[in-house]
């Protein structure tokens, strides 16, 4: 009877997992393989002719190289911004102060705004003539040019996009860090205080070690999300001026659906995913070890 139950259970386990597995294979894994195959198929070709030409072209494509650089910078600066704002706010929100619920509620609001809307808002804020940022800066720095064109500036368009993305993306990092902070037992702080540890020492020896895993997880997840960020860039700059704010997801999208060179777009998408996979490998190993 008991072995019958175990046999039954083992197969039931598959049954519970089956629907999700089938969908993942059908919608993500199978199309990913088609993309892989397409990326080694000659342009307009079909069947079993293979070529590495698209990859060779990709490595020589200045736009793609520029876009890779942009994407790395976009991800890195976004992570720095999200982590700084997120940790600061999580620490402030973790002290049982009156009104804390209200502030937590407000701090998470950018998370509920769709990317495309965030892109539009910041485009309007940065509008050179009728936007509200230029007049605000003018109050602080009277010598600031009156109709400064943020989003067509070769030097400042990119920081402007990062600025918008920091606003859009910090809440999720913040909430994960906050959940991590709440999981650190109060007694640890009290014990450290009894031992005479000051605020900095308590932060370094209690908070940071207790938070280290969740910091890694939050940053790893955020990295994946920022690598894929699409609508915010598309709505805010469309990748311009030129290709200065182009990121990989907007470039691959354009190559597919505006230039219709499917094979080359596939090769780009494969390269992008390979890089993302390598970058997120430590996370997968980390989470796997936790289990």
């Amino acid at each position: 009877m008991s072995s019958g139950r175990a046999w039954h259970d083992r197969h039931l386990g598959y049954l519970f997992v089956l629907p999700a597995t089938l969908m993942l294979v059908g919608v993500l894994v199978f199309p990913a393989f088609i993309t892989l195959k397409l990326s080694v198929t000659p342009e307009g070709g079909s069947g079993w002719h293979f070529t590495l030409a698209h990859y060779q072209n990709a490595f020589r494509d200045p736009v793609l190289l520029q876009t890779f650089k942009n994407t790395f910078a976009f991800v890195a600066w976004s992570l720095v911004g999200h982590f700084t704002v997120g940790l600061g706010l999580a620490l402030a929100l973790n002290q049982a102060l009156p009104g804390q619920t209200f502030f937590r509620l407000v701090a998470l609001i950018p998370w509920t705004i769709p990317d495309v809307v965030a892109g539009i808002i910041f485009r309007w804020i940065l509008n050179p003539i009728f936007g509200c940022l230029n007049p605000l800066i003018k109050i602080v720095i009277p010598s600031f040019p009156a109709e400064f064109q943020w989003l067509s500036s070769p030097t400042l368009a990119f920081p402007a996009v990062i600025f918008a993305n920091v606003w859009r993306g910090y809440p999720l990092v913040m909430v994960m860090l906050l959940a991590g902070l709440m999981a650190i037992p109060r007694e640890l702080y009290e014990a450290a205080a009894v031992d005479g540890a000051g605020r900095l020492k308590r932060f370094l020896h209690v908070t940071l070690p207790g938070l280290s895993t969740i910091i890694l997880i939050a940053l790893a997840l955020d990295m994946v999300w920022e690598f894929r960020r699409f609508a915010l860039v598309l709505a805010m700059t469309g990748g311009g001026p030129g290709t200065l704010t182009e990121v990989l997801s907007t470039l691959v999208y354009k190559t597919y659906f505006q230039f219709f060179t499917f094979e080359y777009a596939s090769a780009m998408a494969i390269l992008m995913s390979a890089v993302l996979f390598v970058l997120s490998l430590p996370y997968i190993v980390l989470v796997g070890r936790e289990q």
Binding site: R10, A20, Q95, W167, A231
Partner: protein, 285 residues
């Protein structure tokens, strides 16, 4: 602790509170400022939005932008589409994800860890990697330009985190409850449905909210899989409005604001589940 030390500790705490409050107020301004500017613009007439100097609060507030948005473009239809797509996505992905999460949490079977790692790895798949072939598959089975095709895609994207999050949550529920159910003669599925799911409600609500948001906020998949106006979602409608009505900022901001409202309201209603669900599910220490 002597009196002086207690006094200094009290002062330190007060200082900390002041610092925290200043930071929180600044953060609230930071979080709300772009939305306030959008709100202000949406109540202006076109002439007022394009007049100098820039006015923070509209002098003659008007609802004309909202009326215009609703009449110039079929935003009612977009809303219907988005609510349908996001609602079904949230329900389906939470149910299918919870089934998988329960399977991973309660059963030992071959390839269990491999499958779990696979679920995790699919989370790293970027939409643009699979969107081309998925588009062709949908066209082949005549699901291109249908909300069904969109829902299938969204449910699948939500599945990995739904499964992982509910697994984490189920892990925190004692197995003795399952065993008690088995002794009472309930089947595994009945135990899942009647005993475990009700206890896991906060985690489930958090997953629902997450999935709804993901579907509601997406632009990439809708952009690639929908090409006819009557099937557009809200985000798609807003994105196209930007191209069409470049200088109608009151209307664009009105549409953007209305398009963000459902997720905002849902979040405000469900927020107490959100942090708890995340804390016990995804972030379980």
């Amino acid at each position: 602790m002597n009196g002086a030390a207690a006094a200094s500790a009290g002062r330190e705490r007060r200082l900390e509170a002041v610092a925290s409050y200043s930071l929180l107020v600044l953060a609230a301004l930071y979080a709300l400022f772009p939305i306030a500017w959008m709100l202000s613009t949406s109540f202006k007439s076109e002439a007022e939005a394009l007049s100098l100097p820039v006015r923070w609060i509209p002098k003659q507030p008007t609802l004309s932008a909202y009326v215009e948005m609703w009449t110039l473009r079929p935003f009612g239809t977009y809303f219907y589409n988005s609510i349908l797509v996001s609602g079904v996505t949230a329900l389906l992905s939470t149910v299918v994800g919870a089934l998988a999460g329960y399977g991973f949490s309660r059963f030992k079977f071959r390839f269990r860890t491999t499958l779990m790692a696979g679920f995790l790895a699919t989370q790293m798949i970027s939409g643009v990697l699979v969107i081309g072939p998925y588009f062709q598959i949908l066209a082949a089975v005549e699901l291109y330009n249908t909300l069904t095709g969109l829902i299938i895609a969204y449910v699948t994207i939500c599945l990995p985190f739904a499964a992982w999050m509910s697994k984490g949550y189920f892990d925190s529920i004692p197995r003795e409850l399952d065993e008690a159910g088995l002794v009472d003669g309930a089947s595994r599925f009945q135990i899942f449905l009647r005993i475990i799911m009700p206890i896991a409600l906060p985690g489930t609500v958090a997953t629902l909210l997450f999935a709804f948001l993901l579907a509601w906020q997406d632009l990439l998949w809708a952009l690639c899989l929908i090409s006819i106006d009557e099937k557009r979602t809200v985000t798609l409608g807003v994105a196209f409005a930007v191209g069409e009505f470049v200088v109608k900022w009151p209307m664009l901001t009105a549409a953007s604001l209305i398009g963000s409202l459902p997720t905002l309201i849902l979040y405000l209603l469900l927020q107490r589940f959100y942090v708890e669900g995340l804390a016990r599910g995804a972030v379980k220490g």
